[in-house]
Symmetry: C2
Subunit: 223 residues, 2 copies
């Protein structure tokens, strides 16, 4: 049983995350000071520190919140539909950004830069490693379920899909492409890779999905 | 006919590029000042400016030099071996870095960061677009030569391969992986994608290449 005190704590943490997103949406990373956040969340600076800690930890709390949403979406998928899980990760990321791109874009952009510069703190880093783990498990499950051939280690396939997903996300975050194109390019490239891995009886169906995704991508591609 | 004056100019430009690489190798981007470069290349600051211009343009000259080497390697490939051209781009990049990683790493790292932040100057940007064009042409040629099926636009396949190539290169540049792993991961992922695209009679051969590359990658993968 969750006590009254824990419920209040969770509610206040939610308040802080909402307030942090509001500040991020209006002024980017620079607008997020502990003092302004306390004002926005209608809490004392003391309470704010006790609940989430430094500015850095507040940013991590926003990312952890995103991460939990992706996980919730994943858990909704029937365990017998492993392939759908891969697309749930993409859809969930798309939905989180589409809902509040003004707040999500600056924080994800910062995260992506740090990730590649090797300066990412343990928490978001651990979350990204976990997303790759979800992809790997989905590939392994789809192999056991007889949809994919098991000629390559699932970790290597997951690694490739993760690179594709992050590459497309980065292209969106750094204004090289639109959010629709992040989704369409990832759909096409995921289906393309899966069709190369599909068992004989599934190949045509997967290829048809890749071709549909390619047409959609053609329509939304920049230039 | 190339005149004596042009020959001298080309020789001095080569001297400057060598000197710039030496400074980059010893002290990174910060060590590259116009004054120090003039000293190193045994030229007056005036001559240096006349030949290549600002520090920014010197960095571009180093990248243009790399670009020409990749192009030279590509031109050596028989035009009937389109698939080999894709791997020549990877091999050429690998060789350029392996030969002088201390100089190449800081400049490529800076270039990669600017590329994703959308602050890349026209010249290196144009070169990267050209590399993508080479990949696209190779895919289109291999399709005409009857090795690949033409069910997807070559531009979309080229886009995916370019993302894979840059993703692996970036992982190396930002110390996430080794240079050997940049090459092995790109080999595996290129062969994997090509096997999904191969005509029926070629599929098994391409798949065998992908499996060889996967074993090699398994051996060099970090962790």
């Amino acid at each position: 049983m969750v006590g009254v005190r824990e419920k209040g704590k969770a509610r206040r943490k939610r308040q802080i995350i909402q307030a942090a997103k509001h500040l991020l949406a209006t002024g980017g990373i620079d607008a997020l000071s502990t003092r302004r956040l306390a004002e926005e969340a209608e809490l004392s600076v003391h309470t704010l520190y006790a609940l989430v800690g430094s500015k850095e930890q507040i940013l991590e709390a926003v990312m952890a919140d995103n991460h939990e949403r992706v996980l919730e979406d994943l858990l909704k998928i029937d365990e017998h539909h492993a392939i759908e899980k891969l697309f749930a990760i993409v859809e969930s990321t798309y939905a989180i950004i589409a809902e509040d791109s003004a707040a999500q874009k600056p924080i994800m952009r910062m995260l992506m830069t740090r990730y590649y510069e090797g300066n990412l703190n343990p928490i978001p880093w651990w979350q990204m490693a976990q997303e790759k783990g979800w992809i790997e498990s989905a590939i392994a499950e789809a192999t056991v379920q007889g949809q994919l051939r098991g000629m390559f280690p699932p970790a290597q396939i997951a690694d490739m899909l993760m690179k594709i997903y992050l590459s497309n996300l980065r292209d969106y975050l750094f204004d090289q492409t639109t959010l629709a194109n992040f989704r369409n390019a990832t759909h096409f490239e995921f289906w393309f890779c899966l069709s190369g891995l599909a068992v004989e009886t599934q190949r045509d169906a997967f290829l048809a999905k890749a071709m549909d995704a390619a047409s959609l991508l053609q329509q939304t591609a920049p230039e």
